[in-house]
C-alpha cells in the first residue's frame, strides 16, 4: 500500500500569488493533519480534519490560509496572497482513527514552498 503522497514536491511562486498544495492520505485513514516545518525547526500544527470536517484549525496563522477535505480523503491546503514568510515545507500526515490523537501519524514527504 502506498503511503501519504503530496503534490507538488516543490512549488515556487511570487509574492501575492495563490497556491494550492495537495495531500493524498493513506487509504482508509480518517484523520488528516497539516503541519508547517520551517528550516531547522520541528513541524508546527496547522489544521486537523476528522473525516470531512476541520475539527481543529487553531494552528492556521491567519485568514490567508484555508484547507478543505470535501470527500474525507484528499485534502488541499490553500494559501492566498502568499508572503515570503510563508516559505516552508508543508507536511501532511494521516492516521487510522479520528479522535485518537495518540495514533501513529504517517507523514508525507512534504511540499517545499518558496515565495520569491
Amino acid at each position: 500500500g502506498a503511503g501519504v503522497s503530496q503534490t507538488p514536491s516543490n512549488k515556487v511562486t511570487e509574492k501575492g500569488k495563490y497556491v494550492e498544495l495537495r495531500c493524498d492520505p493513506i487509504s482508509g485513514h480518517t484523520a488528516l493533519y497539516w503541519y508547517r516545518q520551517s528550516l531547522g525547526q520541528g513541524p508546527e500544527f496547522l489544521i486537523y480534519f476528522q473525516g470531512t470536517g476541520a475539527a481543529d484549525d487553531s494552528g492556521l496563522p491567519n485568514d490567508r490560509f484555508f484547507a478543505v477535505r470535501p470527500e474525507g480523503s484528499v485534502s488541499t491546503l490553500k494559501i492566498q496572497r502568499t508572503e515570503r514568510g510563508d516559505s516552508a515545507v508543508y507536511l501532511c500526515a494521516s492516521s487510522p482513527t479520528a479522535g485518537a490523537h495518540t495514533d501513529t501519524q504517517y507523514f508525507g514527504p512534504g511540499t517545499r514552498l518558496t515565495v520569491l
Partner: protein
Amino acid sequence: QQQVKQSPQSLIVQKGGISIINCAYENTAFDYFPWYQQFPGKGPALLIAIRPDVSEKKEGRFTISFNKSAKQFSLHIMDSQPGDSATYFCAASGNNFNKFYFGSGTKLNVKP
C-alpha cells in the same frame, strides 16, 4: 510558549557510540511521547513512543527513558551507525489534544 524543548540542536557521535537526545515538556496533561526520525527530503517517521505509565521502553537499539516527575524524556541510540544519521524530533500529545507538539529537532551525525 514552547510546549516541548529539545536538546542538543546537533550531535556528532562515533560509530558504535551512544547517542542521547533530551526533551522536556510543560503540560502535565500530555500522555503520549513519540520520537520521529526524519531523513533529508522525507517526512518524519515514527521511531518509538512511550506513555507515562512506564519509565523505559526499548525497541532494538532505541530506548526511551521517561521521568514523569521531572517532565523529561530522552532517546538513547545504542551502537550508533552511520545509517542513523538523520534529524530526530521528540513530540508530545494526548487524548485531550488535537495535535502533536514537536521539539525543534536534533541533527545526528554518526561518523564511520
